[in-house]
Symmetry: C2
Protein backbone atom coordinates (compact mmCIF):
# COMPACT_ATOMS: atom_id res chain seq x y z
CA UNK A 1 0.00 0.00 0.00
CA UNK A 2 1.02 3.59 -0.33
CA UNK A 3 3.55 5.02 1.98
CA UNK A 4 2.15 6.77 5.02
CA UNK A 5 2.56 10.53 4.88
CA UNK A 6 3.24 12.85 7.77
CA UNK A 7 2.16 16.24 6.39
CA UNK A 8 0.10 17.05 9.43
CA UNK A 9 2.22 15.37 12.02
CA UNK A 10 2.88 17.32 15.17
CA UNK A 11 6.47 16.18 14.90
CA UNK A 12 8.68 18.48 12.88
CA UNK A 13 11.10 15.67 12.15
CA UNK A 14 8.27 13.73 10.56
CA UNK A 15 7.22 16.77 8.56
CA UNK A 16 10.79 17.28 7.39
CA UNK A 17 11.11 13.65 6.39
CA UNK A 18 7.90 14.03 4.49
CA UNK A 19 9.67 16.38 2.10
CA UNK A 20 13.19 15.03 1.94
CA UNK A 21 13.00 11.68 3.69
CA UNK A 22 12.86 9.39 0.70
CA UNK A 23 15.68 7.55 -0.97
CA UNK A 24 16.38 10.12 -3.66
CA UNK A 25 15.40 13.61 -2.59
CA UNK A 26 18.39 14.36 -0.41
CA UNK A 27 20.74 13.01 -3.06
CA UNK A 28 19.16 15.34 -5.59
CA UNK A 29 19.64 18.22 -3.17
CA UNK A 30 23.22 17.12 -2.53
CA UNK A 31 24.06 17.20 -6.20
CA UNK A 32 22.31 20.52 -6.57
CA UNK A 33 24.68 21.77 -3.87
CA UNK A 34 27.58 20.49 -5.94
CA UNK A 35 26.35 22.59 -8.83
CA UNK A 36 24.16 20.24 -10.85
CA UNK A 37 21.16 22.01 -12.30
CA UNK A 38 19.98 20.09 -15.34
CA UNK A 39 17.66 17.16 -15.70
CA UNK A 40 20.04 15.01 -17.72
CA UNK A 41 22.93 15.74 -15.41
CA UNK A 42 20.98 14.71 -12.34
CA UNK A 43 19.88 11.62 -14.20
CA UNK A 44 23.36 10.57 -15.24
CA UNK A 45 25.11 11.46 -12.01
CA UNK A 46 22.57 9.74 -9.79
CA UNK A 47 21.62 6.84 -12.05
CA UNK A 48 18.00 7.47 -11.15
CA UNK A 49 15.10 6.41 -13.33
CA UNK A 50 13.79 9.30 -15.41
CA UNK A 51 10.21 9.11 -14.24
CA UNK A 52 11.31 9.00 -10.63
CA UNK A 53 13.60 11.96 -11.18
CA UNK A 54 10.67 13.82 -12.74
CA UNK A 55 8.57 13.05 -9.75
CA UNK A 56 11.23 14.04 -7.21
CA UNK A 57 12.12 17.28 -8.95
CA UNK A 58 8.45 18.20 -9.16
CA UNK A 59 7.93 17.39 -5.51
CA UNK A 60 10.98 19.38 -4.46
CA UNK A 61 9.76 22.31 -6.54
CA UNK A 62 6.30 21.97 -4.98
CA UNK A 63 7.88 22.06 -1.56
CA UNK A 64 10.01 25.03 -2.54
CA UNK A 65 13.28 23.26 -1.98
CA UNK A 66 14.14 23.80 -5.64
CA UNK A 67 12.91 26.33 -8.15
CA UNK A 68 12.55 25.60 -11.85
CA UNK A 69 14.06 28.28 -14.04
CA UNK A 70 13.50 28.59 -17.76
CA UNK A 71 16.82 29.27 -19.45
CA UNK A 72 16.16 29.30 -23.16
CA UNK A 73 19.67 28.63 -24.39
CA UNK A 74 20.84 26.21 -27.08
CA UNK A 75 18.45 23.34 -26.75
CA UNK A 76 18.49 23.31 -23.01
CA UNK A 77 15.46 24.74 -21.41
CA UNK A 78 15.24 24.39 -17.68
CA UNK A 79 17.43 24.52 -14.66
CA UNK A 80 16.62 23.40 -11.16
CA UNK A 81 18.20 25.61 -8.56
CA UNK A 82 18.22 25.51 -4.80
CA UNK A 83 16.06 27.98 -2.94
CA UNK A 84 17.02 29.35 0.44
CA UNK A 85 14.97 26.57 1.98
CA UNK A 86 16.96 24.10 -0.08
CA UNK A 87 20.31 25.63 0.82
CA UNK A 88 19.23 25.42 4.42
CA UNK A 89 19.48 21.64 4.13
CA UNK A 90 23.24 22.06 4.10
CA UNK A 91 23.76 21.15 7.77
CA UNK A 92 21.69 18.01 7.33
CA UNK A 93 23.64 16.90 4.29
CA UNK A 94 26.95 17.60 5.97
CA UNK A 95 25.89 15.79 9.12
CA UNK A 96 24.88 12.78 7.02
CA UNK A 97 28.17 12.86 5.14
CA UNK A 98 30.20 12.98 8.33
CA UNK A 99 28.18 10.18 9.88
CA UNK A 100 28.65 8.05 6.78
CA UNK A 101 32.38 8.77 6.71
CA UNK A 102 32.77 7.95 10.37
CA UNK A 103 30.70 4.79 10.60
CA UNK A 104 30.78 3.40 7.08
CA UNK A 105 34.03 4.58 5.56
CA UNK A 106 34.63 3.53 1.99
CA UNK A 107 37.11 0.65 2.01
CA UNK A 108 39.76 2.14 -0.23
CA UNK A 109 39.00 5.80 -0.39
CA UNK A 110 39.64 8.90 1.66
CA UNK A 111 36.57 10.71 2.95
CA UNK A 112 35.69 13.73 0.90
CA UNK A 113 37.62 16.68 2.23
CA UNK A 114 35.39 19.74 2.24
CA UNK A 115 37.09 23.04 2.96
CA UNK A 116 36.33 26.68 3.42
CA UNK A 117 36.78 28.37 0.06
CA UNK A 118 38.45 31.42 1.60
CA UNK A 119 40.70 30.05 4.29
CA UNK A 120 41.25 26.53 3.03
CA UNK A 121 40.42 25.15 6.44
CA UNK A 122 38.54 21.89 6.81
CA UNK A 123 35.06 22.05 8.24
CA UNK A 124 34.57 20.78 11.74
CA UNK A 125 32.38 17.87 12.75
CA UNK A 126 28.77 18.86 13.20
CA UNK A 127 27.66 18.90 16.79
CA UNK A 128 24.63 19.94 18.77
CA UNK A 129 25.55 22.86 21.01
CA UNK A 130 23.91 24.88 23.72
CA UNK A 131 23.66 28.66 23.50
CA UNK A 132 27.29 29.01 24.56
CA UNK A 133 28.61 26.54 22.05
CA UNK A 134 29.02 23.74 24.56
CA UNK A 135 28.60 20.36 22.84
CA UNK A 136 25.53 18.39 23.86
CA UNK A 137 24.78 14.70 23.50
CA UNK A 138 21.36 13.15 23.32
CA UNK A 139 21.57 12.51 27.06
CA UNK A 140 22.15 16.18 27.83
CA UNK A 141 18.88 17.51 26.47
CA UNK A 142 15.32 17.41 27.74
CA UNK A 143 11.95 18.88 26.89
CA UNK A 144 10.57 21.30 29.50
CA UNK A 145 7.44 20.06 31.28
CA UNK A 146 4.18 21.38 29.99
CA UNK A 147 5.59 21.75 26.54
CA UNK A 148 3.76 20.37 23.56
CA UNK A 149 5.50 17.09 24.01
CA UNK A 150 2.61 14.68 24.16
CA UNK A 151 4.16 12.77 21.35
CA UNK A 152 7.20 11.90 23.38
CA UNK A 153 6.20 11.17 26.92
CA UNK A 154 9.45 9.54 27.95
CA UNK A 155 7.84 6.47 29.40
CA UNK A 156 4.35 5.09 29.71
CA UNK A 157 3.05 4.87 33.27
CA UNK A 158 2.59 1.14 32.94
CA UNK A 159 6.27 0.86 32.24
CA UNK A 160 7.41 2.58 35.41
CA UNK A 161 9.35 0.72 38.10
CA UNK A 162 6.16 0.86 40.19
CA UNK A 163 4.91 -1.69 37.69
CA UNK A 164 6.00 -4.50 39.93
CA UNK A 165 5.37 -3.57 43.55
Amino acid sequence: MARKRFDDSSCSVARALNEVGDWWSLLVVLHAMYGTRRFVDFQQELGIARNILCDRLARLVDNQVLKKVDVGEHGSRFEYRLTEKGRDLFPIVIALRQWGDKWNPAPDQEPLDLRDRLTGRTIRPMEVQDADGKPLTVRDVFVPEGDAADELKPRKAKRQPADKP
Copy 2:
Protein backbone atom coordinates in the same frame (compact mmCIF):
# COMPACT_ATOMS: atom_id res chain seq x y z
CA MET B 1 11.10 -2.94 -8.90
CA ALA B 2 13.23 -3.04 -5.81
CA ARG B 3 14.70 0.13 -4.52
CA LYS B 4 18.22 0.82 -5.64
CA ARG B 5 20.78 0.39 -2.87
CA PHE B 6 23.96 2.36 -2.36
CA ASP B 7 26.01 0.07 -0.12
CA ASP B 8 29.08 0.36 -2.26
CA SER B 9 28.63 3.92 -3.36
CA SER B 10 31.67 6.13 -3.24
CA CYS B 11 29.44 8.81 -1.75
CA SER B 12 29.21 8.70 2.01
CA VAL B 13 25.89 10.52 1.95
CA ALA B 14 24.49 7.72 -0.20
CA ARG B 15 25.93 5.11 2.15
CA ALA B 16 24.40 6.89 5.11
CA LEU B 17 21.02 7.12 3.41
CA ASN B 18 21.30 3.43 2.69
CA GLU B 19 21.03 2.77 6.42
CA VAL B 20 18.72 5.49 7.67
CA GLY B 21 17.36 7.09 4.51
CA ASP B 22 13.97 5.46 4.39
CA TRP B 23 10.70 6.79 5.66
CA TRP B 24 10.77 5.08 9.04
CA SER B 25 14.30 4.41 10.22
CA LEU B 26 15.11 7.91 11.41
CA LEU B 27 11.77 8.15 13.18
CA VAL B 28 12.54 4.93 15.00
CA VAL B 29 15.93 6.34 15.98
CA LEU B 30 14.27 9.60 17.04
CA HIS B 31 11.89 7.81 19.38
CA ALA B 32 14.73 5.69 20.68
CA MET B 33 16.44 8.97 21.58
CA TYR B 34 13.29 9.98 23.45
CA GLY B 35 13.58 6.82 25.48
CA THR B 36 11.42 4.31 23.64
CA ARG B 37 12.89 0.84 23.75
CA ARG B 38 10.11 -1.68 23.28
CA PHE B 39 8.53 -3.11 20.18
CA VAL B 40 4.96 -2.30 21.18
CA ASP B 41 5.86 1.22 22.22
CA PHE B 42 7.53 1.98 18.91
CA GLN B 43 4.54 0.52 17.18
CA GLN B 44 1.99 2.58 19.05
CA GLU B 45 3.94 5.82 19.06
CA LEU B 46 4.80 5.69 15.39
CA GLY B 47 1.67 4.05 14.05
CA ILE B 48 3.87 1.84 11.88
CA ALA B 49 2.78 -1.53 10.57
CA ARG B 50 4.15 -4.35 12.69
CA ASN B 51 5.87 -6.20 9.88
CA ILE B 52 7.55 -3.02 8.71
CA LEU B 53 8.66 -2.22 12.24
CA CYS B 54 10.11 -5.72 12.49
CA ASP B 55 11.99 -5.18 9.29
CA ARG B 56 13.31 -1.75 10.29
CA LEU B 57 14.38 -2.81 13.76
CA ALA B 58 16.18 -5.81 12.31
CA ARG B 59 17.90 -3.67 9.72
CA LEU B 60 18.94 -1.09 12.29
CA VAL B 61 20.32 -3.86 14.48
CA ASP B 62 22.14 -5.32 11.48
CA ASN B 63 23.67 -1.94 10.82
CA GLN B 64 24.55 -1.54 14.48
CA VAL B 65 22.48 1.55 14.97
CA LEU B 66 20.45 -0.29 17.59
CA LYS B 67 21.27 -3.29 19.71
CA LYS B 68 18.72 -5.85 20.81
CA VAL B 69 18.91 -6.64 24.50
CA ASP B 70 17.18 -9.56 26.17
CA VAL B 71 15.57 -8.35 29.36
CA GLY B 72 13.63 -11.25 30.78
CA GLU B 73 11.23 -9.39 33.01
CA HIS B 74 7.49 -9.97 33.41
CA GLY B 75 6.39 -10.97 29.98
CA SER B 76 8.54 -8.45 28.19
CA ARG B 77 11.57 -9.88 26.58
CA PHE B 78 13.54 -7.50 24.41
CA GLU B 79 14.63 -3.93 24.34
CA TYR B 80 16.10 -2.02 21.44
CA ARG B 81 18.73 0.46 22.55
CA LEU B 82 20.83 2.94 20.69
CA THR B 83 24.48 2.12 20.14
CA GLU B 84 27.12 4.82 19.97
CA LYS B 85 26.67 4.79 16.22
CA GLY B 86 22.97 5.35 16.76
CA ARG B 87 23.47 8.13 19.28
CA ASP B 88 25.79 9.73 16.78
CA LEU B 89 22.76 10.39 14.61
CA PHE B 90 21.77 13.08 17.09
CA PRO B 91 23.06 16.02 15.04
CA ILE B 92 21.19 14.75 11.98
CA VAL B 93 17.94 14.41 13.86
CA ILE B 94 18.30 17.83 15.46
CA ALA B 95 19.17 19.43 12.12
CA LEU B 96 16.08 17.83 10.59
CA ARG B 97 13.92 19.01 13.47
CA GLN B 98 15.17 22.57 13.19
CA TRP B 99 14.72 22.60 9.44
CA GLY B 100 11.17 21.31 9.82
CA ASP B 101 10.39 23.87 12.51
CA LYS B 102 11.80 26.70 10.43
CA TRP B 103 10.31 25.89 7.05
CA ASN B 104 7.20 23.86 7.90
CA PRO B 105 6.07 25.06 11.28
CA ALA B 106 3.01 23.33 12.66
CA PRO B 107 0.06 25.69 12.22
CA ASP B 108 -1.06 25.89 15.81
CA GLN B 109 1.79 24.61 17.85
CA GLU B 110 5.04 25.88 19.26
CA PRO B 111 8.18 24.16 18.03
CA LEU B 112 9.51 21.63 20.48
CA ASP B 113 11.81 23.41 22.89
CA LEU B 114 14.83 21.24 23.59
CA ARG B 115 17.10 22.38 26.39
CA ASP B 116 20.32 21.48 28.09
CA ARG B 117 19.46 19.34 31.08
CA LEU B 118 22.03 21.03 33.29
CA THR B 119 21.84 24.69 32.41
CA GLY B 120 18.30 24.87 31.05
CA ARG B 121 19.55 26.75 28.01
CA THR B 122 18.01 26.17 24.60
CA ILE B 123 20.15 24.49 21.99
CA ARG B 124 21.43 26.66 19.18
CA PRO B 125 20.63 26.21 15.52
CA MET B 126 22.85 23.67 13.84
CA GLU B 127 25.36 25.17 11.48
CA VAL B 128 28.31 24.05 9.45
CA GLN B 129 31.44 25.68 10.80
CA ASP B 130 35.08 25.86 9.85
CA ALA B 131 37.82 24.89 12.26
CA ASP B 132 37.47 28.19 14.10
CA GLY B 133 33.73 27.97 14.49
CA LYS B 134 32.99 30.40 11.69
CA PRO B 135 29.63 29.54 10.07
CA LEU B 136 29.82 28.30 6.50
CA THR B 137 27.14 28.17 3.84
CA VAL B 138 27.07 25.80 0.90
CA ARG B 139 28.70 28.52 -1.19
CA ASP B 140 31.66 28.79 1.16
CA VAL B 141 32.95 25.27 0.77
CA PHE B 142 34.82 23.47 -1.99
CA VAL B 143 36.56 20.18 -2.60
CA PRO B 144 40.33 20.45 -3.07
CA GLU B 145 41.54 19.51 -6.56
CA GLY B 146 42.89 16.03 -6.95
CA ASP B 147 40.65 14.77 -4.22
CA ALA B 148 38.55 11.71 -4.75
CA ALA B 149 35.78 13.85 -6.10
CA ASP B 150 35.09 12.24 -9.43
CA GLU B 151 31.53 11.89 -8.40
CA LEU B 152 31.02 15.61 -8.20
CA LYS B 153 32.90 17.30 -10.94
CA PRO B 154 31.12 20.63 -10.64
CA ARG B 155 30.28 20.90 -14.29
CA LYS B 156 30.64 18.73 -17.35
CA ALA B 157 32.95 20.13 -20.02
CA LYS B 158 30.14 20.20 -22.52
CA ARG B 159 28.28 22.52 -20.19
CA GLN B 160 31.05 25.12 -19.98
CA PRO B 161 30.61 28.63 -21.36
CA ALA B 162 32.91 27.56 -24.23
CA ASP B 163 29.90 25.54 -25.33
CA LYS B 164 28.76 28.31 -27.62
CA PRO B 165 31.75 30.05 -29.19
